[in-house]
């Protein structure tokens, strides 16, 4: 029997998607762990870029939350630079992948990381806000969104659109002035993976974690997504992935121990 947290699954699934010899804009927390795992196992020559101004670090392990921007995290970077420059690399087209979390997502991949509620002035719940998320979603060529699979997180229209998906309130990215041919590319949740329909730009289920069914996944969403003709079975974390994650990258479980435990035979 295999036991892992859904966070571990998301991290592994995201790491498998990255390509070697590409650039990736890496955010706080989970995306950082994804990048570290990918670097260790799959993409040794990927170049990580951090918004505070670190390009291509060879971060020291283990991952520690507090080292964001500190010596361990930015160890042996190719370049330490400004935030304006880091974002400009992305705006000018030099960054292939971006990774983002989301409190809510809608049918077109719009993301909410700002607030829950109907009245912006009196939010029911306030989150940290965009951070660099809006820029990652706007500028990077392919954005990977990583989030818990919960019904309330999949909504017809986000309470607040922090970062742009493919279509916002009826308007396409290009009509809105966002860089051409960018946008959310994959959504990885705690039990499934989605891409976006080429034509309609709608969220489309393309993979389900081994042990779950398409129905279970779709029932757990606030709207019905498109479903690919062939929905693949997503492999749970491998022994090697889990070993690297648990022993080398995040031995204190700061990131990977969060979330629900999944048991598979």
């Amino acid at each position: 029997m295999k036991e892992f947290t859904d966070t571990e699954f998301m991290i592994c699934q995201a790491a498998r998607l990255l390509e070697d010899n590409k650039t990736v804009f890496v955010g706080w927390g989970m995306p950082q762990v994804v990048a570290l795992l990918a670097e260790k196992l799959y993409t040794p020559n990927i170049t990580q870029i951090f918004e505070f101004g670190a390009v291509g670090p060879q971060s020291r392990l283990p991952f520690l939350r507090g080292t964001m921007g500190g010596p361990q995290n930015t160890y042996r970077s190719l370049q330490w630079c400004s935030m304006a420059l880091a974002f400009s690399y992305a705006q000018a087209g030099y960054i292939d992948y971006g990774m983002l979390g989301a409190a809510q997502i809608d049918r077109y991949g719009n993301i909410n990381s700002t607030m829950i509620g109907e009245d912006y002035e009196k939010p029911k719940k306030r989150f940290p806000g965009s951070g660099g998320g809006n820029e990652v979603a706007s500028y990077c060529w392919k954005t990977i969104i990583v989030m818990s699979h919960e019904k309330r997180r999949f909504v017809e229209r986000c309470d607040f659109i922090t970062s742009p998906g493919h279509v916002i309130d009826g308007k396409s990215r290009e009509e809105l002035g966002l860089p051409r041919n960018t946008g959310p590319w994959r959504v990885i949740t705690s039990k499934a993976m989605f891409d976006f329909d080429e034509k309609t730009k709608e969220l489309r289920l393309i993979g389900v974690l081994k042990g779950f069914t398409v129905e279970e996944v779709v029932d757990d969403m606030g709207f019905k997504p498109k479903i690919a003709d062939e929905v693949v079975e997503l492999e749970p974390p491998t022994e090697e992935e889990l070993r690297v994650l648990r022993e080398e990258i995040d031995p204190y479980g700061l990131i990977i121990r969060k979330g629900r435990v999944i048991k598979l035979d």
Binding site: E51, F52, G69, F87, R126, S130, Y139, I161, G177
Partner: protein
Amino acid sequence: MQIEILSKGEAEFHFIDPDDFREFVRDKKTRDWKDKLMDEKEAIKKFVKDGDYLAYDFSSLTRGPQSLIREVIRQRKKKLWICAKFTLLESALLAGGGCVEKIDVGFLGFGEYIARKVESGEVKVYDWSNGSITYRLLAGAMGIPFIPARDLLGTDTFKKSGALAIRDPFTNKPVALLPALNPDVALIHVQEADIYGNARVYGPTVATLETAMASKRVIISAERIVETIEFRKEPNMTIIPYYLVDAVVHAPFGAYPGGTQGYYEMDAEHYMKVSSIKTEEEMQKYLEEYVYSVDSHEEFLEKRVGMKKLKELVRKAEILEGFR
């Protein structure tokens, strides 16, 4: 001939006409080589006023100007509008001290305490993003009224910001115009400065230069005060020239409880203590113990942190490569 304005964010935003900023620089900043060394108390008293728009650079984790922030709280400054481009503990502590009225966000961590302040409406948030705020500072630094960019477009963040979207006359596509940001005062912590304000940082530079150039008043705190010749020997490493700066504070462990590269690591324990504050009572207790009941940064270090802890944090900062 006209350019079409496509949409307009609805929020109030801090803005100074570049001509007014220029005249402030001409009349109130000095290009004089004068000794600007003073302590936190004097610097904050002289250069931070109630109602100011206050910016600071980097984070609570790394190279943040924490001794200056604590002094702002200690002096019970009021009605500040702060620039939370990238911030964690500071905003919560400043809100706890009753110093903050408005926050431009960025990334507004941590956590339950500050979230409740916002949810209750006590602190008003203006949503931007790290990129748009940084570009706004860049425009302010360059002395131009705005900068075009391709972020925010189409989102609710845009609607709740002070940005414009126009049809770009060169491409005929929509583009956002982000208004320049010129803070009233900037607090910046660096590894090395001289008494005139020349300064350099090691590690990611975030928006250190842009913030200093764009701000009417600049207070630098530095782990070390070094001779001017040190900058002249490696001019590529200078990030802030003296004429941007109003005050220089010698603040060893100035980023505590965060770390400063090449000097000391973050105090994870103290950091957890702050970040776990949830209630008003806990916050006021914390502020009383660590801010109000001590008179200076030195007293704070001595009586509330202690040499043993400081030594331990220095001990942990073994990575020096790139930081000297």
